[in-house]
């Protein structure tokens, strides 16, 4: 038997009024929700306190299960490695030979580089680290690609700080709680990173597509200067990301750009580094104009 419907309150005045009040509350709630969305659009940093507290609250939950997931998601790699051991061995041997030769050349270059730097008295840019933290989860059901980080404003993490892993750039901090923060991943559609192509130094812009890949567009008009396998590094333009961090590798070249995969796969990351926002040194201020020596006339 179907239960009686709430929509027929009968003759009770009180029940009728209660039903009406529920509708009023619901419609008012929809209006308030829409107002909140608009407010968030106008001022994305609004409600930072509430949102920060929510991040803090769910980060430990994610952290608890993370090690288990890491173990499970590694299984396919292990199986594949077993099957492909023979061919992989041969390929690795060849690669090793090549790498050894390159290493010797690189050592020479390094020495030369150090000497030239000393000549130029250039200080090496060593970014100081804000925090080292774990990536413990992401919002797999939301429409933004965000990951949860186990370091927050107590550790010095601020919105806008770039986040990187040994493999490459991960993204930047979007909002922070006291002990956890949300990271906007490179693959998000709101993320765009100024890069340059290692092979030819062409400047480009890498922006997320929302499906895990990045679109790389050249900044200068003309035929796309990309090739499959090209690596893109951050260029440091814009002052947010420090230069020289690997970002992505080009997978497919199309008419007006290229599709690329981020080098740091967020699903495989464990520890990441939060760095302070990079601001290129400002040029020295222009010398003030000499005061007029004498009043004219």
């Amino acid at each position: 038997m179907r239960p009686p419907r709430r929509t027929s309150p009968g003759f009770s005045r009180r029940a009728q009024f209660g039903l009406f009040a529920a509708y009023v509350a619901a419609v008012a709630g929809v209006v308030i929700g829409l107002a909140l969305v608009v407010a968030a659009r106008v001022d994305p940093r609004g409600f930072a306190l509430i949102r920060g507290a929510a991040i803090d609250a769910i980060a430990p939950l994610s952290a608890a299960g993370r090690s288990l997931v890491e173990r499970v998601s590694g299984i396919d790699d292990a199986l594949y490695a077993y099957v492909a051991a023979g061919t992989q061995n041969r390929a690795l041997r060849a690669e090793n030979m090549l790498a050894r030769r390159r290493l010797i050349a690189a050592r020479g270059l390094e020495r030369e580089n150090r000497r030239l730097r000393a000549l130029l008295r250039l200080a090496e840019h060593t970014p100081d680290r804000v925090a080292t933290a774990r990536i413990v989860g992401s919002t797999a059901s939301g429409s933004h690609r965000l990951a949860t980080l186990t370091a927050g404003s107590l550790n010095g993490v601020r919105p806008g700080h770039p986040v990187r892993a040994p493999e490459g750039l991960v993204g930047r901090v979007l909002e922070t709680g006291a002990t956890a923060a949300r990271v906007l991943l490179l693959a998000d559609t709101d993320s765009s990173v100024p890069v340059l192509i290692v092979r030819n130094g062409q400047p480009a812009l890498a922006s997320g597509r929302g499906d895990g890949r990045l679109t790389i567009r050249p900044l200068v008009p003309g035929p796309a200067p990309f090739r499959r396998g090209d690596v893109a590094l951050t260029s440091g333009t814009g002052g947010l990301y420090p230069p020289g961090i690997p970002v992505a590798v080009v997978d497919k070249v199309d008419r007006d750009g290229a599709l690329a995969w981020p080098l740091a796969d967020p699903a495989r990351l464990d520890f990441v580094m939060v760095e302070p926002a990079f601001a290129p040194p400002l040029p020295p201020p222009a010398p003030p104009l000499a005061p007029p020596a004498a009043a004219p006339r």
Partner: protein, 165 residues
């Protein structure tokens, strides 16, 4: 209607299971899976829909507001998007209840599918993404629609457990 004094007290389990299960389903967004594409269905919404379609008299129509707010906070969506879209869904289901008081289970699935599509697209718009991005959430929409029967079964099992004496 407030429970009268002469009625026997309803055990806590019976009263709290629906709300607790919806909140827990929302928390599934905190699963330690790091995804670069939207792959998981919005479990909180699915659980809420399943309860609403199974037990229409359980909640007043504004009940979607607090659930939506909680889901927004947990999932990192803009605050208010879940509140507004979930409540719109509840209002629509209320209308449907009046139009089609006798429904089959398949019709409920259609309703859940339409509601999921509406909420996912509305969530995208709330996050200031253009409509041209809809193809990237098509897999998520498909997963969500296919996941509804499983969630609905789980909710039905919970309902049986909740009302067990």
């Amino acid at each position: 209607m407030p429970p009268s004094a002469d009625l026997p007290r309803v055990p806590l389990r019976t009263r709290m299971t629906p709300a607790a299960s919806v909140l827990a389903a929302s928390l599934l967004a905190a699963l330690p899976v790091i995804a670069t594409a939207a792959v998981l269905p919005p479990f909180g919404l699915l659980a809420l829909l399943a309860w609403r379609l199974l037990r229409p008299e359980l909640w007043p129509v504004w009940a979607a507001l607090p659930f939506g707010l909680f889901d927004d906070l947990v999932s990192g969506q803009p605050l208010g998007s879940g509140m507004a879209s979930w409540t719109c869904v509840f209002l629509a289901i209320d209308r449907l209840d009046r139009r089609f008081p006798q429904r089959g289970w398949r019709f409920d699935w259609w309703i859940a599918a339409a509601a999921s599509i509406f909420v996912l697209v509305a969530g995208m718009l709330a996050a200031a993404l253009p409509l041209t991005m809809v193809p990237t959430i098509l897999p998520q929409i498909a997963i969500t629609i296919l996941a509804f029967p499983a969630v609905s079964r789980t909710v039905a099992a919970l309902d049986r457990w909740r009302l067990k004496r």
